[in-house]
Chain length 151, copies 2
């Protein structure tokens, strides 16, 4: 989703395009990583000094509702947010640099899996949460090089 499309999503929802909201979008857009509300606030203040933390919370919630942002769930804590290009699709997180990358295109597999689990358990499955955690190509290479040198 481009910034333009996100602005449109706000308008369509009947929400106003305030500098605060645009700044927060900007901060998320600039950052590859997932950010906590506090961290978004910190960065956004550089662009919009009077921005309050409360507004950050409210905006992140709003963007999530609109499908423009998503929460990132990790064992260490679940207060990370990242922009969401595909709405509800799945994502990868790099444990080293916190980069979040969404992916799709594997949905048939997921659907088959859901069908199978649904049949086995007799649950009606309405939503799913799927995350992969690991190392992005860059960090992977970096760590590998360090290991090499240690030998």
């Amino acid at each position: 989703m481009t910034i333009q499309e996100m602005k449109q999503a706000l308008r369509t929802g009947g929400y106003k395009l305030t500098p605060q909201r645009l700044t927060i979008l900007e901060v998320l857009r600039e950052s590859e990583e997932h950010l906590s509300p506090a961290r978004v606030h910190e960065r956004a203040r550089a662009l919009c000094p009077r921005l309050g933390l409360t507004t950050v919370y409210r905006t992140l919630e709003l963007l999530t509702e609109l499908g423009c942002a998503r929460r990132v769930h990790l064992e260490e804590g679940c207060n990370g947010y990242a922009l969401s290009d595909y709405g509800h699709k799945h994502y990868l997180v790099c444990r080293q640099c916190n980069q979040v990358v969404e992916f799709d295109g594997c949905d048939p597999m997921i659907s088959d899996f859901i069908a199978e689990v649904s049949q086995n358990t007799n649950f009606l499955i309405e939503e799913h949460l799927l995350e992969f955690v690991g190392l992005c190509p860059v960090c992977r290479e970096l760590l590998f090089t360090v290991e090499e040198e240690a030998r």
Copy 2:
């Protein structure tokens, strides 16, 4: 995992079998649902009145480390815990009654999926989080009946 096996896990880890820990295990065992630390505390106090909330937090963390319990991640919040029979396997949550059911047996599918995503993104995938949310057979039936009657 039976209570016996969990006790063994504690012993093996060099941890003591205190009444507090056993009570918390008991509470989780009794409950089909995922419970917040506060809720575990509330229920456990019925059996062990002097139990402190701090101990509940510490014990849930310990049990999670040992693979006896797991965190449940939901959009509404991620402070739920449930016993874990299979350690790291996947689970279903009923949005109505909060029942948590683990399942496995579909691992080949997941592995294929991970291999595919890994190849497409060049990430090294080390862990994954997979949850399904929906309605358990009982709640499904119940809600369906209510709808029927409404007509």
